[in-house]
Subunit: 359 residues, 2 copies
DNA sequence: CCTTAGCACTCTCGCGTGGAGAGTGCCAAC
DNA sequence: GTTGGCACTCTCCACGCGAGAGTGCTAAGG
């Protein structure tokens, strides 16, 4: 099988390949020459189509499950379809409005926004959605707050500029009075807002070694609390939604595949790795079949896009499902939702900026 | 089929029924008279066993999938097994230790403890675990804190006495300075700690109507923030874990059942209703098959227990899986984990009490 | 009266067979 | 280059058959 460039295919070849893909995406069954001919778009006989299909198979765009079955598109075919055979339709106005309404609904915090986005994605696509929340270490601090919860137990609340909230319970060596906690909260918020947690931790570590011996009590406590409270581990969090809708699809008739699919969803670390591979560069990235171990193993595809605040990418969102997927619909959806989520998060930052400039 | 009391069965009948249940739980296949006879525990021939099995079927403890298949226990059989044929084994020391280690690990907040409990439950049982977090309205307030996040956006952090943390973003009508937020936080915490959110909301409403016109500015703001921040809706939250392990079981060979199962897990409201039915009364509750719509539809069982702090039940935790379940192992597990989680949460309260008594 | 061996009966399951149908590949004609 | 025709291949399904498993019943024995 010698694959060749897209432009080696004659326009007629491309038309036929396109028809096959579209038909297959709808029917989930191998496409026969006859069914393409019957559509009549090209005015060709089944025999002619058969010749072309034989070529397309030779070039690696089609395969047959067995002799005397119809043909099925390969990942290469989907790639070509996406790159040059698909008009990128806009998302229907109804769905845009639906998304906007849901994202704008409440003064939600960022975590809620992400959950909503995940749900929208799976609901509108009837596929499994995956959203990766930002790694806490890369987020920009907006505010820290310490709340006394029990003797020697303090709850640390970290709010990122994009509106993500993280709670962490920490145990202190000695009881710290409430007033002092307030002072420490204010001190840290005023001095470190606008920096990433990673930066802050590094600065605190330096400060600690420099002033190790002559630190006063308050500063020591501040540093202790900040180190514990601003630790970097817990995230990234992964939200998976819509798995049950996927079970209705015909390609998941056998349990073993379903099971592998669920194991894939459970292995969050692997999902994060795969999705983060898509984060660089704007726009929508598509992984199909053998592009990655996870997708090839299941014959699945991933359509993903980063969401960002300003120019900083925060996380990724995408759809994971059988390669036979309505890319004409899914790609605009992921694209739009990536932007919509970015916008919704940026609105928060705009609010945050405004308050930063107050006296 | 005339069901009869447990004690109407002769000891031998009970022995045979017991053997059948135990065998079926292991093998997942209808149990034949011959296989019971071959175990030789009773020294009876297959023919005798057959006679007894015919009786047991007539009384509603067994069914055959078809003539000339072995027999399968009914929900009634499982009930009897649990009530009077099973020695309640203690949970193995290894597993106890494992649970304790995991629950004691960090100064985790209560939400984390619940997530850990859910995971332990599914890991140790290889079944699906379900944990219902407390409805926020019933939790006892430990502390409230307001954090300024953006202009007119305030994050409200609510900590319950058991250590549950809830965040809620609220939008205020006008900008509130940070100092004032601190004062409001302190005021609310000092005046309302120890009451349920439901109480607090009622008291605030009364206060509002009483003083509607002559309230000063600060009090008005306090009430506004408290009403928004202490609203009762968001929870209860439901954690479901371990679904993929369940897919390995032979009874889930057909997709439709798997799908219904997942739809059941997605319908959280229904899960909550079912689990909360188990909350009253101490100890472990078991629903089997036709006890409830959800379990009968799938031929599933639910083994559930409440967890509590002091004498107040907070939520429920349990295992949901095919009725063919190793109750001898699952029941002690749920029992133990219910107590372990209660204890872990109570330790927090103890800490909270101690700090309350400080000057 | 309970137990047991024996036996006929029933139902499932696996297997092979055979025909229908779908689809292809190739060839010859246009 | 296109098309109709035709032989070939492969899947799928229905059918039948036999083996096996398990039962229910009966009759004999303790």
């Amino acid at each position: 099988m010698d694959t060749r460039d897209a432009d080696r295919l004659s326009p007629r070849d491309r038309e036929i390949l396109r028809d096959i893909i579209v038909t297959y995406v709808l029917s989930a069954e191998p496409v026969s020459s006859r069914s393409v001919a019957k559509q009549g778009r090209l005015g060709l006989s089944a025999a002619t189509i058969r010749n072309v299909m034989a070529d397309l198979e030779e070039w690696g765009y089609l395969v047959q499950p067995h002799t005397s079955a119809g043909r099925v598109p390969t990942p290469a075919a989907y790639h070509m379809f996406i790159e040059s055979m698909m008009q990128a339709r806009k998302l229907p106005a109804r769905e845009r409005r639906y998304i906007e309404e849901n994202l704008a609904s409440t003064p939600a915090d960022a975590d809620e926004l992400i959950a909503i986005a995940s749900h929208l994605l799976s609901e509108l696509s009837q596929q499994v959605s995956i959203v990766v929340a930002p790694a806490i270490g890369d987020t920009v601090l907006k505010a820290v707050d310490f709340v006394s919860v029990a003797e020697r137990k303090v709850l640390c609340v970290v709010v990122s500029q994009a509106g993500f909230v993280d709670n962490r319970m920490i145990e202190t060596e000695e009881e710290i009075p409430r007033q002092e906690l307030t002072r420490i909260s204010n001190y840290l918020t005023q001095n470190f807002a606008g920096h990433t947690l990673r930066d802050i931790r590094d600065r605190l570590l330096r400060q600690m070694t420099e002033e190790r011996l002559q630190v006063d009590n308050l500063l020591a406590r501040t540093i202790e609390l900040a180190r514990e409270g601003l630790a970097l581990d817990s995230r990234p969090e992964v939200l998976v939604d819509g798995a049950s809708a996927l079970l209705a699809r015909p390609e998941l008739a056998d349990i073993q595949r379903v099971r592998r699919m669920f194991e894939a969803f459970t292995d969050k670390a692997r999902l994060v790795r795969m999705l983060n591979g898509c984060i660089q560069g704007g726009g929508v990235r598509v992984l199909i079949g053998d592009d990655s171990d996870l997708t090839s193993e299941l014959d699945f595809s991933l359509v993903a896009s980063a969401y960002r605040v300003g120019d900083q990418p925060l996380g990724t969102l995408g759809i994971f499902g059988p390669s036979r997927m309505d890319y004409q619909k899914i790609i605009p959806l992921v694209h739009y939702l990536g932007h919509a989520l970015s916008r919704a998060l940026s609105d928060k930052v705009a609010g945050a900026r405004r308050i930063d400039q107050l006296p």
